[in-house]
């Protein structure tokens, strides 16, 4: 059964299209991830699916409920951890959790129990009575995640859940997300910049850029789609070597970046001698060469033509006109 289903979902801000005609579906119990650079349209998509923004055109449904016509039913079924802080800083951490639990109608006994559980999970028990305005950025983030995990929604949306957290906390949260997904059959939709996070958590991934989904598949399929093996090498006279290698049909794809040549091939081990042989015939000296399995980084590079890190820091001009609130 499709828990999330979108059909040509589009959102424009004035004449700028942030989400452009996307259609996809997520099955019950799946962990689905959106991977994309800044400004790709991830948050805008989540905001539409969680009834905070109206789509300009297209439609979507959550657990069978239309996001425009049945907003209340949609809200009944979802939990959200936003990318930007969404806490009441004048309240204590515990009060934030308590109010959340009340809004989600969790009965009193269960409320206490859950608050204790999630505070322990994110290691904030000592800070529970401190006003949130005195929390550090990471502590706020942890509190938000704790809050998102408190009630057990059918679908949980996580917008860059572990942004800015330390490795240890990230691990703990990943494990909790997985556990929730397994034990309670929670469908999870997350967005992330982190390849390792996507790799570890997601069953399926959609790569999104400029508001469009470029590709969508399981992590392992995505990796094999770029080639079973990657050969990275550096050499003298790289230009000549590239010209020569481009004629070889067993090379699926060839990329030159930062003076390293990357070849997408099958059975990489067996191709190394071949490459060395070709190079020797051209009297080119191979300085280094290695074979590895593709990572999500390579997948991302292959579909967008950039690594995800190159994008960070680049800002859409719209963002400069409209300075948005940032995590402190």
């Amino acid at each position: 059964m499709d828990i999330i289903k979108t059909n040509q979902l589009t959102r424009k801000f004035d004449d700028f299209t942030a989400v452009d005609d996307i259609s996809f579906s997520v099955k019950k119990g799946e962990i689905f991830g959106f991977l994309g650079p800044n400004g790709a349209g991830k948050t805008t998509t989540i905001k539409m699916l969680t009834t905070l923004l109206y789509p300009t055109s297209g439609s979507a449904s959550i657990a069978g409920h239309d996001i425009i016509k049945e907003r209340n039913d949609v809200r009944q079924n979802i939990g959200v951890v936003f990318q930007e802080p969404a806490l009441d800083i004048e309240l204590s951490g515990k009060e934030n959790l308590d109010y959340h639990a009340r809004m989600y109608n969790i009965p009193r006994e269960k409320r206490k129990e859950r608050i204790k559980d999630v505070l322990q999970l994110v290691d904030l028990e000592n800070k529970q009575d401190t006003f949130v305005k005195f929390y550090s950025g990471g502590m706020k983030r942890r509190l938000e995640i704790a809050r998102g995990l408190m009630h057990s929604p059918v679908v949980l949306f996580l917008d860059e859940p572990t942004l800015g957290l330390d490795a240890q906390t990230r691990r703990a949260i990943w494990q909790y997300i997985r556990k929730m997904n397994k034990e309670e059959q929670t469908t999870i939709f997350l967005t992330t910049h982190y390849m390792d996070e996507a790799d570890y958590l997601c069953d399926r991934i959609g790569i999104i850029d400029h508001g469009k989904i470029l590709v969508m598949d399981s992590v392992s399929n995505l990796k094999t789609s770029v080639g079973n093996d990657l050969i990275t090498l550096s050499s003298t006279n790289m230009g000549d070597l590239i010209k020569r290698l481009e004629k070889e049909s067993w090379i699926k794809k060839l990329k030159n970046q930062d003076n390293f040549l990357t070849l997408y091939v099958e059975k990489g081990d067996e191709k190394i001698p071949l490459i060395i042989e070709i190079a020797q015939k051209l009297s080119i000296k191979i300085k280094s060469i290695s074979v590895r399995k593709p990572t999500l980084d390579d997948v991302f590079l292959s579909y967008t033509g950039r690594t995800i890190r190159e994008n960070n820091g680049k800002v859409n001009p719209k963002d400069m006109i409209h300075p948005r609130f940032h995590r402190g």
């Binding site: 905070l52 936003f82 930007e84 969404a86 004048e90 809004m103």
Partner: protein, 253 residues
Amino acid sequence: MKTFDLQAIYVMWLRQMKHFVRSKSRLVTSIIQPLFFLFILGSGFRTISMPGLEVDYLYFLSPGIITMAILFSSMFTGISVLWDKQFGFLQEVLVAPISRISIIVGRTLGGATTALFQGFIILIIIAVLGVPFSSVIGILSAIAFMVLIAFTAVGFGLIIASKMQDFQGFPLIMNLVIMPLLFLSSAFFPVGSQSTLQTIAFFNPFFYMVDGLRGSLIGKNNVLLPQIDIAIVIVICIIMIGLGSYFFNKSEV
């Protein structure tokens, strides 16, 4: 989902209470400011003779000051939705499975509670200063006016908050809309004597609040009967709360 979710209303109300009690500066200014107006205006204008004044100026001024205090305080509650917008908390509330109407009701009740708290403090101070209240029924009617004023102003604040993205437009609305309306509402000086001012006042929603409160509380110097005032204020209140809810419902985050 129930249309009125009591738990949600309670949470929204409780949150307003906690904010109010914890914000010491708000607590203090909300009481000091009206007293300032009362004493400075009261003692300054007491000696000059104003056309149309039928009672001691301090008595005349008191209902105006109560109206002003409740208006400002309630409007602040409505507009504080903007804070929630900027600090992102509004998103958390808006995705929760609670009806928008209970969010609005909770918030309105919270705003009204704090505003009435201030209103009553001023009322007590005025009583201590020796302002003669008309009758018990008059006082009850005054309380009804205070409640209506509070609800109306929260509704108005909600409209502003739903239409604005940040606080930049707020001083503009304060200085170009609220203050002039307040000055022309007979809160600080009688408008009954000059006919043009009186005609203008009839188009001013604040006029009916001040006039009604004055008619109820001291029973003097009011232009219309409190019964007429209250009917008009109820209509204004329904319109404001209705529009506030409508815009809040439609607003995106």
